[in-house]
Every structure is written in structure tokens, then in C-alpha cells.
Subunit: 223 residues, 2 copies
Amino acid sequence: MSPPPVSDVVVLSGGLDSTVCLALAAREAGRPALALTFDYGQRHRVELERAAAVAREAGAEQLVVRLNAEAWGGSALTDPAIEVPSGGGEGLPATYVPGRNIIFLAVALGVAEAKGADRVWIGVNALDYSGYPDCRPPLIKAMRHVARVGQQRGVEGRPVEIRAPLQHLSKADIVRLGLEVGAPLRLTWSCYRGGPAPCGSCDACLLRAKGFAEAGAPDPSLE
Amino acid sequence: MSPPPVSDVVVLSGGLDSTVCLALAAREAGRPALALTFDYGQRHRVELERAAAVAREAGAEQLVVRLNAEAWGGSALTDPAIEVPSGGGEGLPATYVPGRNIIFLAVALGVAEAKGADRVWIGVNALDYSGYPDCRPPLIKAMRHVARVGQQRGVEGRPVEIRAPLQHLSKADIVRLGLEVGAPLRLTWSCYRGGPAPCGSCDACLLRAKGFAEAGAPDPSLE
């Protein structure tokens, strides 16, 4: 019997964390995962180019899911009328996209079930993050329950498994892990702003720089 | 202080159940809800026209969310290569769209949070249905938990509320309720096939006919 065409679905944004996830999934399964990238009207379109480049380098098939989230707004990442804040502010930043990872996981579960894949991977991180509620372990746990009760595979007792291997790692640990598994970190993009080069001042740039500094490695995307 | 622009978001497919939900939400809030319609590549495009007509008749603003679910396939409702079965078969029918209501609720929660709405309504029905796991009460309960732990409003202790008022009603009860609240049932569409008129033989047509018959009312969409 031939194996199903895909065993793993990885949510791939083109950022550091999801790129490391893609490499982890391939290492475990012994073959490339399906890379699931969301085009949700994000202002920083460079992210989408980087995601495509990462998937290509990994030899992974890429499925681009289009979702017109700009139609309902509510975030600096999709609404040009809301400014991207510089890092270090208090409270939930304007870059929060309401329910983003809930939607990403819901779609990833649907794709996995349709394709016969056993696992969904997402690079959420609860330690070095911007305080988004949809990046925290309780949400991952809640979505695992959704997979058990809301999908046909789940009610048959073999739910799609949700893996979030970076949940409890620091950004430095993620950098180290990425270097260890040979993830193409030079192709990744983290900046919330869509300029030709990373701005160096938004939350995402600050966290990334801190991660590479603490891991004692240069950021290959800046070379 | 003026009220927020929207208090309720209703998932509106243009079918019987969601149209009744839209009327129930408006009755409770005393003003029209935001109608949230998904264009997910469904073959029966007439559904989208009916949803727009229902929203217009209700005086409701409509937000159409586009999602290219046809790109990942797996259902007779999005993939022309899979035939829509006639009703009465055993097991999960080919019309199951993997994770559809999970995705719809995830997006509806995001829209509600972005718009400052307090409630999301969905017309799922656990009694007269085709056996889809994403229509059952455990999924609704699981998604309520997702709203509590995965959204900013939820972690602040005022989660978006998910209403599924038709969950335990028979199709006949839904017809009676729709007539009582003055929902525009004549505009609704249930057939899984996209012909110019309902086919009368798919699961959706059979359930609908049974509902009107048991309610002792003629189906105004057939007049």
C-alpha cells in the first residue's frame, strides 16, 4: 500500500518559527510536509515571498490559502489606517489580528482531514511573543479538543494531531534548534513592516535580534 | 455613548436554518445583525445569491468572506470530480466539507472581535442533519472554549458568545419558528445541487421537504 500523499501539514508564514517547524516536521516524517501559507491581506507582502522561497528550498509542496481578512480589519497588519507600533509598548499591541491562529488552525485541520494527513504543525511560541492570546498553550489545547469532537477523523478516534513544538522555547532556543536541523533561516522574514529591509524597531525585529544575540549566532538574513 | 456598530454576527449561507437565525438575532438585539457569508468555492453558487437576497430583505449589512477551499478539495460541494449523492445513504456523505463549521466559527469569532460584536450565531442543527460531526453540540461547546481562551476579549473575561439556537430543534420546529419570526423563507435555498430549481432528491432537499410537511406549511420557495 502506498502512503497517503501527505502526512504533515505545517502552517508556514515565512517567519523564523514556522520555518523551523517545517524542518522539524520533515525530520520526523522523513519527507517534506505540505506547507500551508495564508494570504490574508497582510501588508508585509514580502512574508509571502519568503514563505514560497522557504517551501521551495525544503522541497515542500505549498498550498496558499487566500482569505480576505482585510475586509473586516481590526489590525495594523491588515489595515493601512492603523499604524504598526514600535516595540516595547504595554498591553496588547495593534499588530494583534483577532483570532488569527484560531483561523489558521481551523483551516489547517480541514486541509489535513481532506488530504489524509495525520499531523498539523504550528510555530506558536508562548515565551518570546507579543502577548497575543492566540499564541498561548490554552488555545492549542482547546483546538486539540476541537479536532477530537468536530472532525470525522476525531469522532472515529484518530483525530488530526496538533503539534506546537516551539511553545515553551525562547527565541534563542528556536534559533539554536533551527541551526541544528538546517532550517533555511537566511530566507526568513519577521519584520511587521513591509519595507525592503527589516525595520529593526518593531516587536518582531526586536525579538528576533534578541534571539540571535542570545544564541550567539549572526542573523543570516541580514548578511 | 453610541452603541458599537454591530452587536451580532450571523453565519448566513442562504439556507433555511441560517435565515431563521438571522431573524432570531435581529429580534433579540432589536436591530439587524451583520450577515457573514462564506464564498468557499461551493458549486451551488445560487446559495450565495440567496444569501445576499436574504440579507438585503433583513436590512442587514453583509460581509462576504472568500476562502479558496476548492484548492484543497475533499468534498462533493467544492470538487466537481466528486458526485453529490442522492439522499438516504449510510455513513458520512460525500457532501461533508472537512471542518467547514470549525472554519466558519473561527472566522466569525475573529470578525466579531474586530467589530466589537458580542455574539456569533450559527444555524447548526443536530437532529435533522446529514451526520456531519461539525454540526454537533460538542463542537459548539469546544468553540465556546476557544473563544474564552484564544481571543483577547475572552482572556479579559468577556468572551464573544456563540449562539446555536437551532441545535436541538427538528426541521419542522425550525420551519414553524421561521414563520413565527417572519424570516424570508421564500428566498432560501437548501439543495446541494446547483440546478435552476431544487433537485428534490439530495439529503438537503429531502430534509427540507420533510420539515415543511411536518410543520403543515407549504414551502414558499417552491411557489
